[in-house]
């Protein structure tokens, strides 16, 4: 760091930013000219080469898997690998199980976290750092270490609980907690929930009515963000399910891949596309309501 040079430059620029009255964020987006005034041609080439190299690295494997599964040896271009994968009976049972676990996780984590974040914001503001720290704690515990603890604790104490596939709901709620918390917290900060709830309470609404009819509708994009991220986490989770020997969709995907050389990757590509569609929908919904909750929650 070179604080001194900073302060000088910042002092010069603060005049500018006061004059335009723009925040850093909107300025960066809405005033494209100044940056590119300096040395336009040369850097552009460098920048584009970065983008092209990255595009090659990221898109080639996608093209490879598409070609690998669509252009079969001795058959040519065909959807056979895909139709075969879709008809696999074990796919239906495992996917259905994963979807039910997903539904349970979304319901549990939303119920728990909406209540907690609201309560913290409204009633016990000084607990907020504690709640925040605990909520992002799962991010600091690698799933593989977490599952060691789970097995060590619950296997001797509650063997039938841990053998039940739905026990995953509780552990996945833990995994999703950092995302859910961040998303809801960002959403709540944006809407001034204090005034809203006071207005609603002042007009005679009870707490339940206030939450369901005032807070939740105002948090729609944050809730969507939290939901979609939870779905993505649960549908892709391999480590915990694998070591607890619960046959969810990702586990099936891995074993199916070792059995079926073409149908396996075909199923993998379909699952990736499903997640991509999920995130595209999320982007669509949150952009309308003006919030980058999804990505903010990850970082």
């Amino acid at each position: 760091m070179a604080p001194q040079s900073h302060d000088q430059v910042a002092a010069v620029t603060s005049v500018n930013s006061i004059a335009t009255g723009a925040t850093a964020d909107s300025m960066a987006r809405q005033h494209p000219q100044p940056k590119s005034n300096l040395g336009r041609k040369r850097p552009q080439f460098g920048l584009w080469s970065v983008v092209v190299v990255c595009a090659l690295y990221f898109l080639f494997p996608l093209w490879a898997i598409a070609k690998f599964t669509l252009d079969l040896p001795l058959e040519g271009w065909t959807f056979k690998a895909y139709t075969k994968a879709v008809q696999e009976p074990e796919l239906h049972t495992t996917l259905w199980l994963s979807l039910r676990i997903t539904g349970g996780t979304v319901a549990l984590s939303l119920a728990l976290m909406i209540w907690t974040v609201l309560w913290t914001t409204l009633k016990v503001k000084r607990m907020q750092p504690v709640v925040e720290f605990i909520s992002i704690l799962p991010y600091m515990v690698p799933p593989i270490a977490f599952v060691v603890g789970i097995a060590g604790v619950f296997r001797p104490a509650f063997p039938s609980f841990i053998a039940n596939p739905y026990s995953l709901i509780f552990f996945y709620t833990v995994l999703a907690m950092p995302f859910t918390y961040r998303s809801l917290d960002a959403g709540l900060r944006a809407i001034d929930v204090k005034t809203l709830t006071e207005a609603s309470r002042g007009l005679g609404a009870g707490w339940m009515t206030t939450i369901m009819r005032v807070v939740v509708p105002n948090l729609r994009s944050a809730l969507l963000g939290a939901t979609f991220l939870t779905v993505a986490v649960v549908l892709g989770e391999y480590t915990i399910a694998s070591l607890l020997l619960i046959n969810t969709f990702p586990i099936f995907l891995a074993t199916y891949n070792s059995k079926e050389i073409f149908a396996g990757p075909a199923l993998g590509l379909m699952s990736m596309l499903a997640v991509a569609v999920l995130f595209a929908l999320l982007g669509l919904f949150t952009r309308k309501r003006g919030g980058a909750n999804a990505t903010a929650a990850i970082a």
Binding site: N16, L38, L47, I65, V124, F146, T295
Partner: protein, 310 residues
């Protein structure tokens, strides 16, 4: 991000007169207000803290139940486990640094390139998906590309380059894992760095130019010092991310690579003598310590970043 400004906003709200009666009421009930957090703390205690602390507890006790720290020490001294932690560290470090630098360049590129407007949103959307795509699906992509019958492998074979002939690539190799991990590391870096690079005000650059500095000087004196904490924070986050990864390496190598996370899997699945269960706990405990330190470091660096990027 934006937590500072959020706090300012709510403190401004607190100053409004409408606030006073409610907070007075809240003060009367203050001793009971924590009741509302009971579900959260109960849930977290049973399903997060208990299992996590049990890892440390069980690693610190031998089979007879006596307290001992020798298992922790055993991990640090035994060549086998030292090697697995070393491999994990090396893999995480290289994928974090390479992914961090490329991610930084890519973020800078999509912020600076303005002509096709969709480029930035396309990269961001892709990053959101790819950053979450560790695990099974990722393996498919690379098996189809650089596996034995992969597209790139067969293409290069047609041009006389044998990827597998000279042990140039084999699936257990850490170089291959590094290349694969970059697929989620670079996007994560893009997501982390975007707010920081967006926060570089064009006016700073103008000001530097007006004061007669060259582009190089601008970067050395302004741009990099401002970005430095965010960049380091990103690298540390990527390191933790890769250190904690299990599924990708496990599925790709069938559990053959000697990484710390894979070693834990072995102990949990009982592939070893029953006596050494503590070893599994101790590896897990060390892993949690490493990742915990890394994430706390990331949080600290991030709080330094937000100073300049309001």
């Amino acid at each position: 991000m934006g937590s500072e400004s959020g706090r300012q906003l709510s403190s401004a709200v607190l100053a409004t007169p409408a606030e006073t009666p409610v907070s007075a009421g809240a003060r009367r009930h203050i001793s009971w207000a924590w009741i509302g957090l009971v579900p959260f703390f109960a849930f977290v205690t049973v399903f997060l803290l208990w299992p996590t602390l049990a890892v440390f507890w069980k690693a610190a006790h031998d089979n007879a139940g006596n307290f001992t720290l020798s298992t922790y020490g055993k991990i640090a001294t035994s060549p086998q486990f030292r090697q697995s932690f070393w491999n994990s560290t090396l893999l995480s470090f290289s994928s974090a640094v390479i992914g961090g630098v490329i991610g930084l360049l890519l973020t800078y590129a999509i912020v600076s390139i303005r002509r096709p407007k969709w480029l930035r949103s396309a990269v961001m959307s892709f990053s959101a998906v790819a950053a979450n795509m560790g695990g099974v699906a990722l393996v498919f992509l690379f098996v189809a590309s650089i596996g034995v019958t992969g597209l790139l492998t067969t293409f290069l074979l047609g041009h006389g380059i044998h990827l597998y002939d000279k042990q140039f690539i084999y699936s257990g190799s850490y170089h291959v894992l590094t290349v694969i991990y970059l697929y989620f590391q670079i996007p994560l870096m893009v997501i982390v760095m975007l707010p920081a690079i967006d926060g570089l005000k064009p006016a700073w650059r103008e000001a530097a130019a007006n004061l007669g500095s060259s582009g190089m000087q601008y970067w050395r004196r302004v741009g990099l010092p401002v970005l430095w904490p965010a960049f380091l924070g990103g690298i540390v986050l990527l390191f933790a991310n890769s250190f904690a990864a299990y599924a990708t390496a496990y599925v790709l190598t069938g559990g053959q690579s000697n990484l710390a996370s894979i070693q834990i899997g072995f102990f949990l699945q009982g592939n070893t003598i029953a006596d050494s269960q503590q070893i599994g706990y101790a590896i897990a405990a060390w892993m949690i310590i490493v990742v915990l330190i890394a994430i706390l470091l990331y949080q600290w660096l991030r709080s330094r970043t937000t100073r300049w990027l309001q």
